[in-house]
Symmetry: C2
């Protein structure tokens, strides 16, 4: 299983790293999570420079693709030369978006009617005719969208559930959840995924 | 306000970046959050290489210091030459730890009796006579400890509340919380901080 975390310039750390760190906790042979960037290095919206683990094209052969969010997502989503680097297949890949990453799901025609996103991105999706769901995670088949940075762990749990099973996701959420609240976080995650389990 | 996020080699992305990204949302002049590392670059426990924004010594003149967590925290906490680079003042600084970062609070004598940490670090603190709290956040005065990666946002909210006020923290948690669950996350945060507000 190859997992691509698409991380662009001016990225939001929450939206790439919560999901990637949780996905990295799946303990299966050949399970590989990689931060994929359009250039060798990218700098976060808060000035943290990171090195790409893979180029964007890694997503094209990945089993799971996650579009992170950031301050320049709209710019990338409107850039035909950038979109041309992506060739995804929703019949074979699990594809998800966090916050403004939803713009890619719309541009690539992966979710055509309803989507979950953050409050700043919502108007940009409403104006192109999408309906914005008032829930942390909205999915159809192999495609999921989440809104609000902290819903990243729901998205990771959805991906782990689809790729393996709910119990694997539940065990990982239990591990990363706050001390004294572990059952509660597993229940919250189950709630967010309820329609899709 | 200078905020130092101590991020060591083999760091856990959740434990440095959830808090740093949330702390970065405080919109005050001179509010500066910096990732501080022992070397110019460090690599996360999942192989992501980042560049330091500041050296470790930045923490010594910071107003807020947060010890992140990772696979080598124990090694650093037992390294006298590393500890010598730190000269913190708990009467003037707010100091917090995430998961295994708690080892630094113990080694530096900042929390001497009770501490919150993750389940893997707990035995290492029990064996040196600490009591481990079964709650996501435990604080005394200017010092706070949190356990379980996702409690990072409680730690950030505690720091913002102490440095500014609860409403500023609540507004930021509301912003980053999952869509459709924003009030719930503010209430959960308030609950975790209840004894310290």
């Amino acid at each position: 299983m190859k997992i691509a975390i698409i991380t662009l310039d001016a990225f939001n750390e929450l939206d790439s790293f919560i999901a990637s760190a949780i996905l990295n906790r799946v303990n299966l042979p050949d399970w590989e999570v990689q931060i994929c960037c359009p250039t060798d290095q990218v700098t976060s919206m808060n000035g943290v420079r990171i090195e790409a683990q893979q180029p964007i094209e890694y997503a094209n052969t990945a089993d799971i693709v996650l579009f992170g969010s950031g301050m320049k997502t709209l710019e990338y989503a409107n850039d035909a030369s950038f979109l041309k680097r992506l060739s995804l297949d929703p019949t074979k890949q699990l594809i998800g978006s966090q916050c403004s990453g939803a713009l890619f799901l719309q541009r690539l025609g992966l979710l055509e009617n309803t989507i979950s996103t953050d409050t700043l991105t919502a108007p940009k999706l409403l104006e192109v005719g999408m309906e914005v769901a008032d829930q942390p995670l909205y999915a159809e088949g192999n495609i999921a969208s989440t809104g609000g940075c902290l819903s990243s762990y729901y998205l990771a749990a959805w991906m782990i559930t689809k790729a393996t099973n709910w119990q694997t996701a539940a065990d990982i959420i239990h591990y990363v959840a706050p001390v004294g609240q572990k059952e509660m976080y597993v229940e919250m995650t189950k709630g967010a995924l309820a329609d899709y389990l």
